[in-house]
Every structure is written in C-alpha cells, then in structure tokens.
Symmetry: C2
Subunit: 336 residues, 2 copies
Amino acid sequence: MSNVTIKDIARMAGVSHTTVSRALNDSPLINPETKEKIKSIAGSLNYTPNYSAKSLVLDRSYNLGLFFTTLRQGTSPGFLYEAIKGVNEIIKDRYNLIVRGIDDYKSYHHVNRKSFDGIMLMSQSAADQPFIEYASDHGIPFIVLNREVEMSGVVNLIPDDQSGAYRMTEYMLRCGHRRIAIVEGKAGFKSAQARKEGYREALLAYGIPLQDELCIRGDYGLESGYKAMVRLLALPERPTAVFCSSDDMALGAVKAAVERGLRVPDDVSVAGFDDTGYSAFTTPALTTVRRPIEEMSRAGAERLMALLETKESAERKTLFHTELIVRDSVKRLNTE
Amino acid sequence: MSNVTIKDIARMAGVSHTTVSRALNDSPLINPETKEKIKSIAGSLNYTPNYSAKSLVLDRSYNLGLFFTTLRQGTSPGFLYEAIKGVNEIIKDRYNLIVRGIDDYKSYHHVNRKSFDGIMLMSQSAADQPFIEYASDHGIPFIVLNREVEMSGVVNLIPDDQSGAYRMTEYMLRCGHRRIAIVEGKAGFKSAQARKEGYREALLAYGIPLQDELCIRGDYGLESGYKAMVRLLALPERPTAVFCSSDDMALGAVKAAVERGLRVPDDVSVAGFDDTGYSAFTTPALTTVRRPIEEMSRAGAERLMALLETKESAERKTLFHTELIVRDSVKRLNTE
DNA sequence: CTGAAAGCGCTAACAT
DNA sequence: ATGTTAGCGCTTTCAG
C-alpha cells in the first residue's frame, strides 16, 4: 500500500535516510554496492517517492499548465486534441499536464510558481493579456503559443496564419475567381485578424478592392459558417468563392449552399483553414490550409522544458509554416 | 513576488503562525477581529498558500486525473473535448485536472495516492484492466466512465450504447430496410461490442439473421469507415443501409459511397453513433445516436468529489441514456 | 481564544 | 562514502 518512506528503507539497509535519498537520486558519492542494495530494497518494497515532500523542499511542483483562452467556444475539439497530444508526447511522465481554460478560474490565485513549474498558453485572444501579465509579474516561467504577443523576452511560437491565408486567396485568384468572400474568425482573436490580413493582401496584389459586403464575421464555429453563407448567398451579386477562416465554418458554409440547391464547388467554391482530420472526408473534400498545431505543441513543450532546466531559451519567436492543401472544394474557372 | 508565508503574516499581525493558519482556514476558534485583521494582512501581502506544504501535511495533492485508454487512436477529438469540458466545469479551481493517455506512462510509478487524490478513467478498452487493478491495489480513489467493469464496489458511469444501437437498427428496420450492414468499432473496445449487440438484438427481434458478410470491423476512425464501405459496396448484393459504430466512420463511409457515384441516402443509407458536433453539418446531415459524454463527465466529476469528501458514494452503476437523432442520412423505403 | 512544539517526507549543507 | 542536523511551509495536538 506504498506508505514506504526513505526512513523505512534506511532502517532495513542499516544506513541513514540521507544515504538512501542520495542513492535513489543516483548521487555519485555513494558506494556502488550500497547504492545497489538500497535500490533493490526500494524496489522490493515498491517504494514511491512522496512528490509533495520533494516539491516542498525542491520548490518544484512537477506541474505544467496547458492553458487555453477558453474551453467553451472558439476552441475546436481538434485544436484541443492536437495540442494535448503534442505536449503529452514530449513531457511523458516527467511532468503532470494540467489542462484548463483560463476562464475556468475565478481568480488566478491558484496559478503561481509554487503550483506550476511552467505554463504553456495557447493564446487565442488578446483577452488573455491580463493572464500573461499576471504570469509574468509572478515570475512563472511561461511561453505563448499560437498568438503573437508584443511583450519582449517571451518565447512565442506562432503559426504563419497570414501567409497561409495569402496563399489560399492567391490560389483562388489563380483559379480565376475574382469575387471572393471571406468568413472571418472570432472577433478579437488574433488569428482571425491575421487570416483576414492575408486575404486582403492577396486581393491587393491582384488589384482587387476589398469589399465590405464580402466580409462576414464568424466565430470559428459550424453554425456561424452556415449563417455567413446564407447571407452571402442572399447578395445581389454572389461571390464565386468563399474563404472560411476555419474548417468548421467551411463545413457550415457548404451545408448552407447545399441546402439551397447549390453544388460545391460547381456553383460556389468554399475553402477552409486548419486542416482538421475531417477535412479530407467531407463532401467535397475540403481545400484548406494546414496549421501545424501538434508540431507547434511539441516544440512548445520542448522549449518550456529547456527553459525550466537552463533558465533561458535562445530564440524568442518562431514561426511555424502553414501549408496550402488543395482538394476538391474550389473550382478552377479558367485553364491558366 | 509572493514568497509570503504564514510566518510573515504572523510577524506583522503580532500573533503566532499557528493563529494565522487557523484564521486563514476559517477556524471557529479564532476571535473574529483577529481573523479579520489577519485576512486583511494576507490580502494586502497577496499571500498564496504553498500547496506543496499543504499537500505534505494534509496528505492530499489537489490533483485529479482524467485518464484515457490512449490519446493516440480510437479517442476522437470530440470525445476528449467534451470530457475535459465537462470535468473542468465541475471541479473549477478546487483541483488540478491532469489529462493523460494511460499509454503515455512507461510505468504506473508516478500514479499513486500521493500524487492523485482521485482518478477518473475514461475507459475504452479492456486493455486498461491492469491499470484499474493497479489503482485499486494502491488504494487510489477512482471511478470508471464509459465502459462497464465487472469489479464490485467501483463507481461506474456508462452510456447505454447497446440500447442506442438497438433503437437505431430498429429505426432502420421500420424504415423498411432489411439488408443492414454494421461497421463495427475498434476491436477489443467494449463500446464496439455493445453496439454490435444492440444491432444483433434488433435484427433478431425482426427475425433477420445476422450475416457475417455484412459485419465489417472498423476502428472508429474516418479511414476505417471508408474502407469498410468500399468492401460493402463490392458485395454481390449490397446492403441498403449501413450502421456505423461512430460518426467518424459514417463520414468515411459516406465519402466512399459518394466517390463511387452513389447518393446518400437515395442509393444507400448511412447512420452513425456519437452525435459529435459535426454530424448535423455533414451532407447529408447524419442520422445518429447521441451519447451524453459531457453530462457523464460532469456527473463523474461530481461523484468523484463526493467520494473524496465522504469516502463513499451510494450508487455504483449509473446508465446514461443515449438518444436516437433522426436527420437525413437514412432513407425511408416504405410508407409504414 | 492563542501559542509552543512536533512532524509530514524529503534534500542539503556541514561535518567526519 | 556516510551520518547529523536543520529546515522547506504548513497543520495539529497539547497546554494554557
């Protein structure tokens, strides 16, 4: 029932508990034979160190936080999934991974250096700026993923959303589309802004003015894509292509089009962003932009662990490349 | 920078640290005025208790584990998402939620009563029986969700998969289908077996023999649904309806059918299981069985917390009802 | 109502 | 190479 302590082992081995502690921590000062003996006793007694005690004296909690802006809305299941998977793969059982939406906390009181050795913030919105400042003020080692932050000295891993959106829009333009709408992401989310910017830039490069009526606000969710498409289809002059800032919204948009008797991509083209596992399996398969969440999360975990061990990390800002994934939901209007 | 301890507060308040401890823990033995004074000092100093110290003396870690059989395959993003969301909603900041796939552990060494006050196991497969026994042997309070376990005395919350599958199959039969295939879930997963059983039972009730060629093994993933459908469509006599044991597989199945020029549901009907957020937005909208993961997770968190506080929990086994969700992917062949 | 003292299990000087 | 001692920050007898 494992209430064995180093003192018990010490007694059995006929040494002091200090020696046991050292042996178990592989101190080089201990006689190899003694060490072997102690370890074997520990093994046979099924000894497990009491991490609360270790934590107290070593001033480490062995907890790592993986925090999201919110778990309620705007965070897609696929996003959460890939992030957790990526991080867990790296930290193995060296740390406990604590997953939380920032908005689950009434106060940040429980978030402190004693309780978290480090924090990875999957930042989605500027709304978590206060949290970032809190962490910074309280000297908690942290890194920010997914959203670019201005703060200096912060390790910041971000996907290159803007150029992804640029390439997608450019692709649509190359396919001959000229009237291209965008369904934007959640208001206040940096990623939403970056994707819009890439879209704008591409249009500009082709000398096409940005039209307000073709920019519809969404919130990254399925439903909002649906509603946006309904509005777009009601326009006097319909777009020939719709760039949705998330795959989920693209799904919703396709749904709206199909319900109104239109065919995708024959009557209207639709593209997404994210490349969730589903996008290859929708009908039609979704042309989208792949966002390397899992890779970014793995890298984040590595960087955070390095930061905890060496107390510093070289590169501050790292861009993760997005990739255009061409499937079947955007029609080629020309032969180029 | 919050390295304030109760001793600092004691000094400032002119009392002993014992009194501070008691005051902060709302002990009734402390003079209300003293208490107020101490609390206000603590507040102004921005005191945060050191949870490692509390943990050591109180023998509680304030950690709750949410464990999955695996995070690599067979666990859908939606499943993970709803489970985490449900649990976090209940535990708020009273506990840390640690999310892990059991197969992330090389050994269970780090899983013990000192490190986890309690564990919720989202059990998907009999493969985690050893883990359950481990937890039980080591006296870690735990409850098992999602999969029925034989072990007595274990709090066990499970969705009623079998009757969900039964109702779905029955619905297909009522629609006039007689040649109904099933794409089964991951081998070894209890849920896969239960869904198959519900299917079998319904066929039996209608006097239809189970045909091996209509039972295809899948693994709950998109791809496996696709492959299964390919095989079914190659049959000399095709099924008129295909019951997939997960929405993901249903998506794959629809994909395969459409690629082969068939229309769903006009040429072949497809149904799913789970009712993930996506199922209403696929084309056609998926007829499926809703599985109340979030509710079950919330209930699980409540039960676990009750178990930790009162050291016992009344009901051992609770069934969560699944629900038939009729949408557009199953065709009515008759007029009944 | 408050304080002194002990101790949770561990690590880390400081001896030797 | 090993032991002695102190102490991490907190709660909890036990005394008063």
